[in-house]
Subunit: 351 residues, 2 copies
DNA sequence: ACTGGCTTTGGGAGCGCTCCCAAAACATTA
DNA sequence: TAATGTTTTGGGAGCGCTCCCAAAGCCAGT
């Protein structure tokens, strides 16, 4: 009969478990929540009944009483069109999901695609009893939202430094020094006319990576040439177009602010009849998996995207449990991954 | 003062709104839930107060009272390692998220990565008050879970036909006819030795796509040659290895059961010094975005992945609202996308 | 045996909503 | 005007948990 219920664990309540184990509701609650003030013998007895019945506390009831939902949100704004194109998002999501599992939070995923989604998202996110905290991918469309959500006292961690929201906690990768080392690497290899394809103007990583590029050149006593700086948009197609604009300036190396753009740029370069890396060398940014499958394999700056996601969740939980003041700021390191597209290595790496 | 609260909408309860608008809790509840039996004048009055205060009903309280969470889960089992490699998952997720937004459900994302995650996932998913229903990506590791979850009366829709769970509702793409038309296309182009690289053995799409391949050959009066059938695993690397095994059999065309494998196979082919499509032609399956960026651009079978996700959610909601019997079965069509890798078109498509 | 200090246990109240039923208000007819 | 039917409104109970406080049990120490 117990067996019967143990499969379903359906209409079991705390009260019922209390009855079955001959104690009170309160005591069972203490056992379930691993609180003190329960004698060993009683604890064992109750645990046995819980085990046999397969009892699970009702989450909504618990939420109502504690005013905690044990759910965190991940908001990926607007970039949705890019969501299935740019492998960055899946990897981030993966890290976030992993950490949520580990810390026993539920992950609510919110992809904001269309304009109307965007209008509807604030009320949805701020519904009472919905989220304990939220992770927001930075990008131009998220910023007002960040301020609004912070205003209602919801713990927020921004993934990627936000441009305007000064009070926000965020976590970011060291875009500046990543770009700096990518560019330095090209300089070290003897390239003379090093161009760059930037990300979409107006975003923090675009700015930081461009600054890193410039600084690396300046530090080596060179100046940067505006003709060698072209704006892209982080996508493959954007890299392709940008490279077509860049080619007349005769670059012998290009630092692209994303791997996808690097791949697009290499496509344009090949079509223009230039060899890679002999005529034009390339370094990307991200180290997404396509970097390795590109032809030639792409030298790039690795972002620790997955652990980035994990750290984001950890920071958010810190905010939830220890208060949102002061804002937390975390910057993670990048790493230069040398493959074939920069001309540093002639050797094919066999998988 | 109201303004003040409208920003936060914090400690507002139904009762409070009732007080402010001079009616009873019940009436406000009717207004909020758009139920009948409220006079127009009262409805207007209440809506005004709600607007001014920015009242939002407390979700946990509602859940507790109705025993509905308005949240659906998306479980991607084990494939997690593939989650950020294979663009299929992001696109699926995107469709699912979009539909959830539209129907005003919250999407809970569960990625099961490690073995231990897998052990912990059942209790997590079956927590009372957590989910109204769940979408499970089929694949060998999900199947026991499917049965377990169905047993506790949780509405389940399997994404991709499950091999064993006979009673489950599922939604799938027509893998058989997709493979059939891919193979037919290669036959039509005059290729004589058409090989195939299959997916991971033991999964439904692998089986169905292989059957479609065989049937297409047989229908044209040919027999299939076991030497031309090699097993892959849906990944780029798997396609690369598989092609190395296939090359000695001298295929002049290959149908790969995924785009990633096709891309890996093309890499192996190129390295072996063969031209594409002149020496070996390729057709993939999925039409993920890399197919278009491949060199040459990949002819492939397009799966409507995003609308697949949308339909999955719609089916699940149908199950939730109208009962889980009888099981729903939905098969969606595929489409042959002709690009350069099959040799049908010599023209470069400029973006 | 009696007191005072501990730990353990039980039960009431309350979280904010929905659902149901009864009461009130209104409209309609004889 | 009374009787009847219909629509609108209000309030109690309950969803299943947590939190708090008071009661009960236990163990010295006198």
């Amino acid at each position: 009969m117990l067996e019967n219920k143990s499969v379903a664990g359906l209409d079991l309540t705390l009260e019922e478990i209390a009855r079955l184990s001959g104690v009170s509701r309160s005591t069972v609650s203490r056992v379930v929540n691993q609180q003190p003030h329960v004698s060993e013998s009683v604890r064992k007895k109750v645990l046995k009944v819980i085990q046999e019945t397969g009892y699970q506390p009702h989450l909504a009831a618990r939420s109502l009483a504690t005013n905690r939902s044990w759910m965190v949100g991940l908001l990926l704004p607007r970039s949705v069109s890019g969501f299935f194109t740019d492998p960055y998002f899946p990897r981030l999501t993966q890290g976030v999901a992993q950490a949520c599992n580990q810390y026993d939070y539920t992950l609510g995923l919110f992809l904001v695609g269309t304009q109307e989604d965007e209008a509807k998202i604030l009320p949805r996110l701020s519904r009472k009893g919905m989220l304990d905290g939220i992770l927001i991918q930075s990008g131009q469309f998220g910023e007002q939202l960040i301020d609004r959500l912070m205003k209602i006292q919801l713990p927020v961690v921004v993934v990627g430094r936000p441009l305007h929201s000064a009070q926000a906690s965020y976590i970011d990768v060291d875009n500046f020094s990543g770009a700096y080392s990518a560019t330095s690497h090209l300089i070290r290899l003897g390239h003379q006319r090093i161009g760059t394809i930037t990300g979409l103007a107006g975003s923090a990583p675009t700015f930081d990576r461009l600054e890193g590029y410039k600084k690396a050149l300046i530090d080596r006593g060179r100046n940067y040439d505006p003709a060698l700086i072209v704006e892209g948009d982080f996508t493959e197609a954007g890299g392709y177009y940008a490279m077509q604009q860049l080619l007349p300036a005769k670059p012998d190396a290009v630092f692209a602010a994303s791997d996808l753009m690097a791949i697009g740029a290499m496509r344009a370069t090949r079509e223009a009849g230039c060899r890679i890396p002999e005529d034009v060398a390339f370094v990307g940014f991200d180290d997404v998996s396509v970097a390795m499958y590109a032809n030639p394999q792409l030298t790039t700056i690795r972002q620790p995207i997955t652990s980035f996601g994990i750290t984001a969740v950890e920071t958010l939980i810190d905010l939830i449990e220890n208060g949102i003041e002061p804002p937390r700021r975390i910057i993670m390191d990048t790493e230069l991954i040398i493959r074939d597209s920069c001309g540093a290595s002639r050797r094919r790496i066999d998988l």
